[in-house]
């Protein structure tokens, strides 16, 4: 009731609590509707299709789950990827997403609604975004008393591009459900800390377990909750409430997380989880001291006790460090370590550094994804310091940490977005609540003396209050000021909505499997080369034909063409990826034995030169070289792919190594025949190609898609006469030109490469 007492006075007079509750439900339902519908651009524009790369694997795994049942999914060994190694898929994935859609699928069937599993997968992310908006409402309502803040936060969360980027229809990835779980787990945690309830602590653990099963980003929760508890202890705010909620979360949550095969014993054996364990131990100590202090009032004994606690803490910490050094506890894994030591990944793990979403974030990306929220966000954080309750401490910690992570890695914008929405909604609702109040404040002129005394007394009692909030709140006098601020806020909000819609529609709704372009008359033209090529593979190659391609396309080939691949987006085996990189970046004579050894039947490359599609393999080529160089520094050298002046070129001045590499040859093979002689042009790199195109001897062109985006080559079998392929090709050519071959027939020369 007290919440509503402070509520908007105008509304309070006009409506009863019940009506307001109903209104709130309706508003939330509308927000959820808006959240879902703004994510449907791609379905309306293109079709109900799975997007990008990783979602294709999740989709394939979900299909497997639905077909073969839960237990065989759990034990799934996939021999159609990472040929010839295979992958223990059931034990190396986060099953939460697939199991969720599987449950929904079976539930709908039980309700006699036979929905195709693909449609469930496509629409899962938008559906969960509605739930995320709801969870954000709950979380924000815990932070401040004004209920308008919660509704605003829900609306922000529903349409903020930072979250939409990973949750449009068809983006069937772990983040689709993970962000909902993240926000909801935080809500339950705040609730548990506030109430000191085992029930909410257990619920936090339950949803934490769900989160662990869904996304590797669960480590963020694993570290944020202990940090919150730790800061509260340092602030001298230890309470039995904290003890109850933390211990129940930690004990149950750790057990829950260990049920996932991929996580297994990591929670007790890796450094990422040690802070949670450490704070758990610290809490026991603090609780013990707290208890003893209440029992024994002796002052000296308390000092002794405190020293003892400090000693135990230091010894335990030292023990942890020792265990880490000796290797019992695994040190930080590369991916997490690279968040702190930002230069680490570039030197040691080029695979991580090569992914575009692991790049640091420039400021336009923040503004693009969050618009005005990005500057309301610090204001909201500042307001948290006004009262600085336990839960507002959480907001501050979350805000600082998440901003750091989002600055280091583009993809972690996703974890920043919820707290930005919460904090900026707190700031914005504070403004709206102040300026939408229709009452005129009384002029407090006569009680100046008394106010001063009270102020001094208040300052004496509460010295740590914020500077800007020392005086008593009076209110806004004139309607002109109210109108100005409210009007401006309305304009900003409208601009925000338009920005979000524009960003969603322009940047985040492309499936990237299907490309769209505009024809001169303005109509839309669909470029469907990917599916054309994958369909060709599906129909024209044997079921077990092994396809070699760069790892980006592994999941798509597995999902759309249903053919075994050598490497895919899982990137668990760096050496295997480097092998493919070596095959792509070496001469044919080197690549051919590698391909034979791996039983490769077809090689697939992506080439954007004709269309000006910049995400093609030649642009990714340097990463292949770098990754291969990491394993074979003597055979593949990045330096050899740059000209003497340090340029990366594909035209006449390209280095011999570049021109002889398999990737270059496959990309530009026969390309010059499209153009008049000497006119061949690469539209991505704006380069004129050599008049003489590359020649292939160990592989032959099998398929090229309509816009040349995908080119597939067949690896030739061994020559029937036992010759090597180069001489076989030379012989074939020689028979056509008698004279040329006659001249070539001389004394045998030693081939020096």
């Amino acid at each position: 009731m007290s919440v509503q007492m402070e509520d908007n006075q105008l509304l309070k007079q006009a409506t009863s609590p019940k009506t307001r509750g109903l209104l709130r439900v309706i508003i939330l339902a509308l927000i959820a509707g808006a959240a879902v519908s703004s994510r449907l651009f791609s379905v309306i524009r293109f079709e109900s299709i799975i997007h990008e790369f990783d979602p294709w694997f999740n989709f394939r795994a979900t299909k497997y789950l639905v077909q073969h049942g839960f237990y065989s999914f759990w034990d799934w060994f996939d021999d159609r990827t990472w040929h010839p190694l295979g992958r223990v898929t059931g034990g190396t994935l986060y099953p939460g997403l697939m199991v969720t859609s599987g449950v929904i699928y079976h539930l709908l069937r039980a309700l006699a609604l036979p929905v195709d599993i693909r449609n469930i997968c496509v629409l899962l992310a938008p559906a969960f975004s509605g739930l995320t908006a709801l969870a954000t409402y709950l979380l924000t309502s815990e932070m401040v008393t004004s209920p308008s803040a919660g509704l605003l936060a829900a609306a922000f969360m529903g349409i903020a591009p930072g979250y939409i980027s990973r949750s449009v229809a068809g983006s069937y990835d772990n983040e689709a459900i993970a962000i909902f779980l993240l926000v909801f787990t935080f809500y339950l945690w705040i609730k548990a800390v506030k109430l000191g309830s085992v029930f909410y602590g257990a619920l936090t653990a339950l949803f934490y377990g769900y989160m662990v099963s869904a996304w590797g980003g669960y480590v963020f929760i694993t570290n944020l909750l202990p940090l919150h508890a730790f800061v509260l202890i340092c602030m001298g705010r230890y309470s039995p409430r904290l003890y109850v909620s933390y211990t129940s979360w930690y004990a149950l949550g750790t057990l829950a997380s260990m049920q996932i095969p991929f996580v297994g014993f990591l929670p007790i054996r890796s450094s990422e989880h040690m802070s949670a364990l450490g704070v758990f131990g610290l809490l026991q100590l603090v609780a013990f001291v707290d208890y003893v202090r209440a029992q024994i009032p002796n002052k000296q004994f308390q000092t002794l006790l405190r020293a003892l606690v400090l000693l135990v803490f230091v010894v335990a910490f030292g023990g942890l460090v020792l265990l880490t050094v000796t290797g019992v506890i695994a040190p930080w894994t590369g991916r997490f370590y690279s968040l702190w030591d930002t230069g680490y990944a570039k030197i040691h793990i080029p695979i991580i550094a090569s992914v575009s979403e692991h790049q640091p974030t420039a400021w336009p990306a923040f503004f693009f994804d969050l618009n005005m929220l990005i500057w309301l966000f610090p204001a909201g954080v500042y307001m948290c310091f006004k009262r600085l309750t336990d839960e507002q401490v959480f907001v501050v910690i979350y805000a600082v940490l998440a901003s750091y992570f989002a600055g280091v890695m583009v993809r972690l914008m996703l974890t920043l977005t919820p707290i930005v929405c919460v904090a900026s909604a707190m700031a914005f609702s504070q403004i709206l609540d102040t300026y939408l109040d229709a009452r005129k404040p009384k002029v407090p002129a006569k009680e100046e003396e008394g106010a001063d005394v009270a102020k001094v007394a208040a300052a004496a009692v509460l010295p740590e209050g914020l500077r800007s909030t020392r005086g008593p709140v009076i209110g806004i006098y004139s309607y002109a000021s109210k109108l100005t601020v409210v009007g401006a806020s309305l304009v900003y909000l409208l601009l925000f909505v338009m920005h979000c819609t524009w960003v969603t529609s322009n940047a985040y709704s492309s499936p990237s499997v299907v490309l769209a372009s505009r024809l001169p008359d303005g109509s839309q033209h669909i470029i469907d080369d990917y599916r054309e090529a994958y369909q060709w593979l599906r129909q024209n190659t044997p079921n077990d034909a092994k396809i070699m391609s760069w790892w980006d396309y592994g999941y798509q080939i597995g999902g759309m063409a249903d053919r075994p691949t050598l490497v895919d987006n899982n990137t668990w085996n760096n050496t295997h990826i480097a092998t493919v990189g070596k095959a792509m970046s070496s001469r044919e004579e080197v690549s051919y034995p590698i391909m034979r050894q791996h039983e490769v039947d077809y090689v697939l490359v992506v080439f954007g030169g004709l269309l000006g599609y910049s995400g093609d393999d030649i642009n990714k080529f340097l990463w292949m070289v770098r990754i291969a160089e990491g394993i074979w520094p003597d055979e593949v050298k990045e330096r050899d792919f740059f000209t003497a002046r340090g340029e990366y070129r594909v035209d006449d001045e390209a280095t011999p190594t570049m021109k002889n590499s398999l990737m270059y040859k496959m990309s530009y093979y026969n390309y010059n025949k499209l153009f008049p002689a000497g006119q061949a042009q690469d539209r991505v790199r704006q380069a004129r190609l050599p008049a003489q195109g590359p020649e292939l001897s160990t592989i032959e062109e099998a398929f090229t898609s309509e816009n040349w985006i995908i080119r597939i080559y067949k690896v030739k079998d061994l020559d029937n006469f036992g010759r090597d392929h180069q001489s076989a090709t030379a012989f074939d050519k020689g028979t056509k030109k008698k004279r040329g071959s006659a001249r070539r027939k001389g004394p045998k020369t030693l081939r020096v490469e």
Binding site: P364, P378, M383, V400, P472, H499, D634
Partner: protein
């Protein structure tokens, strides 16, 4: 015929060994005993020629460097301790000379002739001479060259490189880094000092640490820094400003995922002004008792907010060509 060929080929190495064995093995043990005390041998033109003279049945790793300050080769000086460490631990670890490798250092001062004959323009260069005779001999007697193109290398990297040149079945000695006692003592003293300082100064520090305004300021600065792309500058080492090609200064980098140091600071300041305007409107203005002053403050802060936001949008339009939204002033 073929048999004869094979036979000759098989016998050939033995004859070579028989002929040269005494001389070259003497040479190796000579150099080795010398290097036992120093690690890498200090060479000059004459000893360099003697050491690398073919035929040899041992391998040689020579670092060609220029240590004197007047040559201004910082890379040479940075790498030298690593090289000494590597050669010392290699010679010490390789007790029975199983790898048959000699380490040498040739400074430019002592070996001008060698530098000229190799036509070296840069230093340092690491050369590795494989054996020309003996069981591990290579057909290609040309020395392998290691260029320090990517900056100073740790000893481990060079160790890997040399190990790759040697046959795989020979055990390579490990690098033994000496324990840095000075560092340990320094750190212990520093930690103890800090602890002492904290205990002594605690009564003065604690009130500061408990000051809410301080923490608020710290958190806001951190948030503003990170959300304006400071980490991008830090990781990518972006330039602070750059010229615009017409003699002026370009404050804003072209392109969506690119920025300058100053640019991100301008953006942080813009965010800061906007946040401050929002805080003022939300918290400060309602506390102003005087109606006139309050009215003025509202208008002032609203105008500041509008102008700054409009400016921010105009910067963003500059970064992102297709962006269409704008607010009045800019």
């Amino acid at each position: 015929m073929r048999w004869l060929h094979l036979l000759t080929a098989a016998v050939l190495p033995f004859t070579a060994l028989g002929a040269k064995k005494s001389a070259s093995s003497d040479r190796f043990s000579d150099f080795r005993t010398k290097s036992l005390s120093t690690g890498a041998l200090k060479l000059d033109d004459a000893s360099y020629a003697k050491l690398t003279k073919s035929p040899r049945d041992y391998s040689v790793a020579v670092l060609l460097t220029a240590l004197e300050t007047r040559f201004g080769c910082t890379l040479c000086r940075e790498f030298q301790p690593e090289w000494d460490l590597l050669s010392k631990s290699w010679v010490k670890g390789d007790k029975d000379a199983a790898t048959r490798t000699v380490f040498g250092t040739l400074d430019f001062v002592d070996g001008k002739g060698t530098f000229q004959s190799l036509m070296l323009q840069t230093a340092p260069v690491l050369l590795f001479f494989p054996p020309t005779t003996g069981p591990n001999a290579k057909v290609d007697a040309q020395p392998q060259r290691f260029d320090f193109t990517s900056g100073p290398q740790p000893a481990e990297r060079i160790h890997d490189w040399i190990s790759r040149q040697l046959p795989a079945d020979v055990a390579k000695p490990r690098i033994v880094r000496p324990i840095n006692y000075v560092k340990i003592i320094t750190i212990t003293t520093a930690v103890l000092g800090v602890i002492t300082f904290i205990t002594v100064a605690a009564p003065y520090i604690v009130p500061i640490l408990q000051n809410r305004n301080l923490w608020a300021a710290l958190s806001l600065i951190a948030v503003l820094l990170f959300t304006s792309g400071h980490m991008f500058n830090h990781i990518r080492k972006t330039p602070y400003v750059a010229g615009d090609g017409k003699g002026g200064i370009a404050y804003f980098a072209g392109g969506f995922s690119n920025q300058f140091g100053l640019e991100s600071q301008i953006v942080a300041a813009v965010y800061g002004v906007l946040s401050f305007a929002a805080i003022s409107l939300a918290l400060k203005v309602p506390r102003i008792a005087n109606a006139k002053v309050q009215q003025f403050a509202v208008f002032l802060w609203s105008a500041v907010m509008l102008c700054t936001y409009s400016y921010l949008l105009s910067i963003f339009r500059m970064k992102n060509g297709g962006y269409t939204f704008k607010l009045p002033p800019f």
